[in-house]
Amino acid sequence: MTQEKIKEEAEKVLEELSLTLGEVELEETYYVLKDVNVLRDDGTPENKKEFRKLALKNTSKIDEDGYFIAEVGTWVL
């Protein structure tokens, strides 16, 4: 199925879903829990050496210095 076809179908789905909804005037619910101010204290740093190794291994491109490699910025070319 082409991207276009999927877009078309998505629009249909969207219309049908919003049709069922109708109108309502209420505040928006973003969260299931009503907590506020869930914070943590600034403690002693943790160092995850094993994670670093795995993360570098799991990345498509890295260089010998341990940098992840992304594209070069177009505006500096």
């Binding site: 973003y30 969260y31 829990l33 907590d35 506020v36 101010n37 869930v38 914070l39 943590r40 204290d41 600034d42 403690g43 002693t44 740093p45 943790e46 160092n47 995850k48 994670f51 670093r52 993360a55 570098l56 260089d63 210095d65 341990g66 940098y67 992840f68 490699i69 992304a70 594209e71 070069v72 910025g73 505006w75 500096v76």
Partner: protein, 457 residues
């Protein structure tokens, strides 16, 4: 031509751990990608930890320094979606304003919020380092009320001072990042990113004004766009054309409950808030009747200002001010250190000035001791004693030294007698070096004059 400039200033908040994870915030002195974890690299499935309380408190304190009104409704931490190599999750977590409607030097502060720093991306090599990713930032947004690069520079300098006063931003400096928008009358608004210093902001704005004026004089229009400041060349370059505002599709982060700042928290922070530098400066002029120039320099660093007030309780205020402005500042600049890290205690300054004022040491000795303080870090009284720098008050000893100096420098005596009065100063210098600076130069001059003129009679 009317110029309108607004600034968005990002500064890193000093914490041990990052905003949403327990990785260390040090990223300069470590290997690339060493202080990272699944959270700050946005690994699949990673959720933020609860936000770092210290970072949020710091942002509140900074907002209060600008007399902002603190928002007391729940503040959502939002996801700002955009695709960029330094952004591991494809969105940046950034809070809605925690405060609004402040001001500094008469320039409006629109809002203050906190957010996470992205990683470090080098567009030239494509290298990405996530050590910085997740470091807490405070962002301060001004009203577009600045009208020249000079004004922007002044404002940023003052703002830097205020941030340093709070002690809540990173001490090592050089972590400020500025986005600025600038429009010339009749042109579109241009945003400039990638500015890393006050000087950079000034240079970028200068360049941009010239560029935009040039376009206009050639009858071409200024496009609404985002440009990057290229520091190595002091120019700006188009990043992407901004026909309409980019849609960041903000949503409250479902993994982060909102922050609600309580009245108690605001009151608590207000009580520990330092006086703003520009207010302190004004107070010093009125309260201590010191010169405006001195007040400005003294108020440039909180610890220095505090030291001044302590010294001025014992020592005449203007003397304390002049000494700090001239001597202390000279030593700080020479060593490239802040007062806080200089090892100079206010008590040391008091002790030193007391010894000088009571005639126990000479001005020259006092200056020498001052220079040694950052290195020796001990009481001036002890330094003076250990080096036997107490002023020589034994008249016979000084007279003998004068006698010797006159004998050794007959030429200078002749010169003086033939009308070159400054020749005597040379001999004073000889006496001072014979006595290793411990003689009172005024007294030495007196003795020498008496002796030479006695010969003449």
């Amino acid at each position: 031509m009317k110029i309108t400039i607004g600034l968005e200033i990002h500064e890193q908040i000093a914490t041990n751990t990052k905003l949403f994870c327990n990785c260390s915030t040090s990223y300069r002195e470590v290997k690339p990608n060493s202080n990272i974890c699944e959270i700050c690299t946005g690994m699949p499935g990673a959720k933020p930890m609860p936000p770092n309380r210290k970072a949020i408190d710091a942002a509140i304190e900074i907002a209060l320094m600008f007399n902002c009104e603190i928002i007391q409704e729940p503040v959502y931490i939002q996801r700002k979606h955009y695709s960029y190599p330094d952004l591991p999750s494809g969105y940046q977590r950034t809070s809605l304003p925690i405060a609004k409607n402040g001001n500094l030097l008469g320039i409006g502060i629109w809002e203050v919020h906190f957010e996470e720093d992205p990683g470090k991306y080098d567009p030239v090599t494509g290298r990405v380092d996530y050590n910085r990713s997740g470091v807490p930032l405070v962002e301060i947004v001004t009203a577009p009320q600045l009208h020249s690069p000079e004004e922007a520079r002044n404002f940023l300098r003052e703002l830097t001072k205020v941030l340093q006063y709070t002690g809540k931003t990173r001490e090592e400096g050089g972590t400020m990042r500025v986005d600025t928008n600038i429009s010339l009358e009749g042109g579109a608004r241009v945003e400039i990113k990638n500015i890393n210093s006050v000087r950079g902001a000034y240079k970028a704005l200068l360049f941009e004004i010239t560029r935009q004026k040039n376009l206009m004089t050639h009858g071409r229009s200024v496009k609404r766009e985002t440009r990057a400041f290229i520091e190595s060349q002091m120019i700006t370059r188009a990043m992407r054309v901004k026909e309409e505002a980019e849609d960041y599709r903000y949503i409250p982060d479902p993994d982060l409950p909102p922050v609600a700042i309580t009245n108690e928290k605001i009151e608590y922070i207000k009580n520990i808030l330092p006086e703003a530098p520009h207010l302190k400066e004004k107070r010093f002029i009125v309260e201590y009747k010191i010169k405006a120039d001195d007040a400005k320099i003294i108020a440039s660093e909180l610890e220095l200002a505090n030291a001044f007030e302590k010294v001025a309780m014992v020592i005449p205020a203007q003397q304390a001010a002049s000494w700090i402005r001239d001597e202390v500042r000279r030593i700080l600049e020479y060593n490239g250190i802040s007062f806080k890290n200089s090892g100079i205690e206010p008590d040391y300054i008091i002790e030193l000035l007391n010894m000088m004022n009571s005639g126990k040491i000479t001005v020259r000795t006092a200056k020498k001791v001052m220079e040694l303080l950052p290195e020796l870090r001990k009481s001036p009284r002890i330094i003076v004693e250990e080096n036997s720098w107490v002023k020589i008050s034994d008249e016979n000893y000084v007279e003998a030294a004068c006698e010797d100096a006159l004998k050794e420098n007959p030429g200078a005596v002749k010169d003086y007698l033939s009308g070159k009065r400054e020749a005597l100063n040379f001999i004073v210098g000889r006496v001072m070096s014979k006595t290793r600076g411990r003689a009172d130069p005024a007294r030495v001059l007196e003795i020498l004059r008496k002796k030479v003129e006695g010969v003449m009679k």
